[in-house]
């Protein structure tokens, strides 16, 4: 256990130079883009004077050389201060706090939805290889993989709007909660939330089912061809024990690596689709910040994404070591 702890600590330390490099590159690239936040927002408005534009640049420190701007940002970042958003005039950490819950709710629900369906489905498909069942389900899942998620979201909303014409107010068209959510009792609130999750979760999750189930099926088929499986069957173990106790456990290992990547996308995965389904998540705020060159907010978004990816990888490695005693952790 101490060994594991030391390994995690080492990996965390290794992240620091990576994060530093990522921050330099993203900050630099964002400054290479023409114009800045102020030119984006004020230049073409006839009622804004040149003085106002200059004053805004000075206030935000955009009149200083880029390296100085970076050092200022980096110093604040190192002390845990993410700075203030230009656009919202509010601390970036507060803004992230406002949106974090929504992102996690959607991310985790979609995660549970895809994994809970895809893993059993993948196992079934391996067991029932070449059956009509496999053919139909793999066609269906691959169809949804082929439809881009934002398009699927629009299709689902259109379907819901059509259904609502005969059943007024049945499906909410986008949004995370109903307009009177705050007035509801706790049970109603949970139901309201769940009801609003259906379309978003379907839109976000249904496409990845195909990939996951295919992976699971492939892994399991490989394992089922192994000699120890034949041995187990030969010595008369029940088929259930062979598959679920021996084969599936081994087939799960590569899936755990995948889990790490999924973790990274929890906070930053749904920028475009969030707009369509009016989901108040981090993705759309960060995308907006990038487009508007709201540097502090955009940097916070990029850095969170990078950190989540690094942590996700670490998490996957640790989980792998825990689930498979053959794997040794070495930094």
């Amino acid at each position: 256990m101490a060994r594991m702890f030391r390994y995690i600590l080492q990996r965390l330390l290794q992240m620091l130079p990576k994060l530093l490099l990522i921050s330099v590159i993203t900050f630099g690239i964002s400054k290479l883009a023409p114009g800045d936040y102020v030119s984006n927002k004020m230049m073409n408005n006839p009622t804004v004077s040149q003085e106002a534009i200059d004053r805004e640049r000075t206030r935000l420190g955009l009149d200083q050389p880029v390296p100085i701007q970076y050092l200022k940002w980096a110093k604040n970042f190192a002390t845990g201060d993410l700075g203030e958003s230009y656009d919202y005039r509010e601390k970036v950490s507060t803004l992230i706090g406002l949106k974090l819950q929504a992102t996690l709710v959607l991310g985790l629900s979609a995660f549970l939805f895809t994994w809970l369906i895809a893993l059993p489905l993948g196992i079934l498909m391996a067991v029932k290889q070449y059956s009509w069942f496999e053919k139909i389900f793999s066609s269906v899942t691959f169809f949804f993989l082929g439809v881009p998620d934002f398009f699927l979201a629009i299709l689902l909303l259109m379907g819901a709007a059509w259904w609502n014409q005969s059943h007024p107010g049945f499906f909410p068209i986008g949004g995370m909660t109903g307009p009177d959510h705050a007035l509801m009792g706790p049970v109603q609130q949970v139901v309201d939330q769940a009801w609003h999750l259906i379309i978003p979760v379907l839109a976000v999750g249904i496409g990845s089912i195909a990939i996951l189930q295919r992976r699971m099926r492939g892994n399991l088929l490989d394992i089922l061809g192994e000699e120890y499986v034949r041995t187990a069957r030969a010595k008369g173990l029940p088929e259930n024990t062979v598959i679920y106790k021996h084969a599936v456990r081994n087939a799960l290992n590569p899936m755990i690596t995948l889990l790490g990547f999924e973790f990274a996308s929890l906070l930053s995965g749904f920028a475009i689709i969030e707009n369509i389904i009016s989901w108040p998540g981090l993705g759309q705020m960060m995308l907006d910040a990038l487009l508007k060159q709201d540097v502090n907010l955009a940097m916070a978004g990029v850095m969170t994404g990078a950190l989540m990816l690094l942590l996700g990888n670490l998490l996957a490695d640790v989980l792998l070591a825990l689930s498979d005693p053959r794997i040794k952790l070495e930094a």
Binding site: N40, T177, S278
Partner: protein
Amino acid sequence: MTAHRSFRVLLAACTALLVACTGTDRGGSTTPKGGKPEWPTDATTVKPARVEAPPPDALHGGIGTYGGRLMAAMISDPKTFNLALAQETSSTTPLGFLFEGMAETNALTGKMQEALAEKWEVSKDNLTYTFTLRKGLQWSDGKPLTADDVDFTFNRIVFNPDIPTDWRDILTIGDALPTVRKLDNLRIQVRTPKPFAPFLRTFAALPILPKHALEASVNEKDPKTGKPRFNEMWTIATDVTTIPGSGPFMFAEFVPSQRIVYKRNPYYWRVDGQGNRLPYLDGMVIFIVKDQNAGVLKFTSGETDVLFVDAPLRGQDFGALQPKQKTSNFTIYQAGPDFGTLFLTFNQTRDVRPNGTPYVDKVKGTWFRDIRFRRALAHAIDKQSIIRNVYLGIAQPQISCESQTSPFYSKDVTVYPFDLAKAQNLLAEAGYRKDAGGVLRDPAGHAVSFTLNTNSENSERKQIAQILKSDFAKLGIDIKFQPITFNVLVEKTSSSLDWEAVLMGFTGSLDPANGRNIWHSEGRLHMFNQKLAKSTAWQPEPWEKEVDRLFEKGATTLDETKRKEIYHGFQRLVSDQVPYLYIANRIQLYPVRNRFGNLKVTPIGGPIWNIWGLYMRD
């Protein structure tokens, strides 16, 4: 066998989950019909008290009934609730229902009329204004609204150099600010440094902010920045229910990127013809819907009554919505042309870079400065084809530089109808000839060709640029079309001057004086002949100096009729010189559910400018 069983279990679990969801819904999550929301009201009067002696013209419309809610949608998130610092309509629009000024624009006529002030007087020298507030005004938390609040808004916030508000720029006349003095509890006296015609529109319309809620934040300094804490007040993380307002509604709830929920301000000053205190509606919800398609679905699905409060309908949505008007019980209202402008313009500058090279190629510069060349091209633009193909018919040709909605708009201008023969004649007069290959050559024999830029984010402009390219090709002119990002475009037109022709737009306004930055020869947006700080060879044409003179005169003449004459002359002059080749104005369309009385959609106010007078008919 086992596989079968586990599949069945899986299926059962899924259906159970679905049933659980569908079975319990409906009552819970959807909008209550008939609008009986029970947002707690902390005011003492739940039913608004009647007011004696309603002011004349209290309401444009009939007497309504209390109750119900209006559901609307908005495309962008509010960025702040601090109105003095707000810079975008997505912040000012939702706050517009909370804060009012001493005067307001009449949404039907465009003229200024009384709001929080019941009257004002202007001194003989046109320099001093005395405003008298209505008696008994109250903030939505019940505190009195007096001249102290006006004095505080101007002297402590707007004129405070430590508070970065754009309002100060609007109020600066020449280089000086007006002085604001409280005379007594109801009267405020303002002196302007010189006569300034747009003064009422800019000064009196500024929203008044509550002194009792903000004074402490103006006095206290943030230890880190040394600036007043006011600069960090009322962000989107603030508890919005603590914000007192003077408008028809107050905030009940704000959920970022989701919705703004309003409830009635029980102390609102406006009353109907029978002295019933307004608004009639119990409240309003504005959903934030960033995707226009999703917004349209939300509307057809019946979740909203008004499509977007901050944007008119797109042409393609009009096509989809129009046939559904009967079945989905709504009407699409036409509210006249848009405020903004869209134009093609050429870089006419004679200025040179510090190293002596001209910003614009010498040959091309002579074309662009030739008025016959500009007029010929203006005649070659097939505006009807643009309106048909790009706007799907929902637009009209723009003829004048002022918005058609503006009281100063003039039709008596030189117009440039699509006429290829005329365009060719004008070019021939100027000595341009088509060669055997069909290429237009200038008098010196150079082939006429230039680069056209527009901002790549705007798909409409890209389509229009393609049509312009084919239109001008008929004259033998070759356009190289180059869409670039907005920031690059602005950098070109405002500082590097490295451009030949651009297709671009400006936001419009009711008073031409607000266009000073565009039209004054030394203005920041005088882009067809931009003066830079480092300019050495920049020179304005005589007609540009004439425009300067007209603008100076227009801004200092207070008589409305004389002002109109001045600005009509200005529009004639500009249309004659065609520095900007105007294209088209989109017609504003607003779909609204058929359930509101007193609804009057106007070009200036949109669908819900009189939200205080709207009532539910069913």
